[in-house]
Amino acid sequence: MNEMARLQKRRLALYGWMLAAPALALMSLFAFYPAIATFWHSLFTRGTSRRPSVFAGFENYGDLFADPTFWTVATNNLIYAGVTIPVSIIFALVMALLANAHIPARSFVRSAYFTPTILPMIAAANLWLFFYTPDLGVIDQITGLFGASPTNWLGQPETALASVIIVTIWKEAGFFMIFYLAALQTIPPDLREAARIEGAGRWTYTRRVLLPLLMPTTIFVFVNAMINSVKLIDHLFILTKGGPNNASKLILYWIWEMAFAYFDSPHAAAMTILVLLALGLVAVAQFRLVEKRTHYR
């Protein structure tokens, strides 16, 4: 009997492995193995037909740190993340609160907020080109009415990154709104009644009741926004190509450029490893946060 139970258990374990195997195999092929291979390749010099690549230790990393472009790009990405994450979360929250209130034409309002989300970033960038075209673009035509002189929004270092950031926020806020909308639906309406009876105003209710209850959603959205701040670069291909003078270049675009425009894959590999390390830190921090939350409950 005991023997049979053990056999049965082993059969189930085998079955479990078999079910998971196809996914695990693909994942190893396109995530785990490439991550390790990238690290390995980042330790070698760039090979040419005359000079084959040789082991170089952490030289590529040293080169990166010595390259002023690295610091520009890293700073750009930090600014990009530092602005897009909080601003799109705040917009998302405001949108969710507005789109959840009983207002006329509510479904129009919801779609209007959400529609940018379903557009390809490439298409979104095309739409924004009109707004940014100097002199003839919509923004300059509007500011021109007030007597402002035309601005080359995408072509000057001072405004290029900001222009890219605005497109990202426009694209992302509606997506995050959906998660807040979903969370708002789970909040029982009697809480609002209770708060009203206690004499709490709208603002107090939002700050003391809603925001704490939405905290898990905010963490989820925050982590997603953080991942996206590395991932979302498609609009750079249309709007600025990272320019002018690297002013709007983000890390992933730089990796693409190094690898596929300058064919310098060892430095691209080293840069990739740095990004993976940063994302790994985010992952650890997130698991910690989630654990804390579950303890708290």
Binding site: L19, A20, A31, W256, S265
Partner: protein, 282 residues
Amino acid sequence: MKTDTITANTTLKLPDLDKVLDALGAWVLAIVWISPLLFAAWAALQPSGTALGLDFSNPLTFENFVYVWGAVPWGGYFTNTVVLVTLILAGQLVLCTLAGFAFARFEFKGRDTVFILVLLQLFILPEVLIVENYAIVSKLGLFDTALGIGLPYMASAFGIFLLRQAFKSVPIELEEAARIEGCSWMGVLWKVYVPAAKPVYLAYALVSIATHWNNFLWPLIVTNSPETRPLTVGLSLFGAPETGVDISVISAATIMTIAPLLMAFLIFQRQFIQAFLRAGIR
């Protein structure tokens, strides 16, 4: 007569200020938010080269669409994107269902460790590993094929995670009942778990379709011929400076790229948002 006026008065009571401000704020933000899209729709219908003049007296014309359709193999791009999105979704549904089932209902040694590895993949973005993945896809001989674009996305950690959660919330009694009826494991999965996770499947499918319809960087790297290029890559080449940046023409191309997804969204808008809300992705 008198009672009538009283009821009329109560229903005509002024809406309170908060609500009016809410509605006003919501509408203004909504109009600002879709204005780029509205402007593009209008510009696409303007005679070529005149859109930036913002002259609203010009007659509307479809010539930009005709021009764009003739200028590049647009029909081919559409077909490629549809094939690609279908292929990826099919692969994801099969692989993630099996793996999600394994992680939710089977006990095996090392399961929890492997599951953490799967979760880690959420952070090891395929987008970041482009250089190495490009080498692998080339080695497999899949360069410039739909499978080459799709394969790295099929074992989606997000899908496995979502389905595992959904399967875990299915009461075990349902499964036991089916087992007593003589159902095999595959039968249980197909007859009990998959139907129970329907809203999750729907929401996941929507996210997957939208993501891969819109994906750009990876397809740009893995394709180099019009026969495999998806819409997004076609569109980006179309807007290249060599063709001359004509806003009306680019608008028409952009509208054509987003039209199918946009129309599907506008028709199913309600179900679309409901699917998200119901699946409880949060």
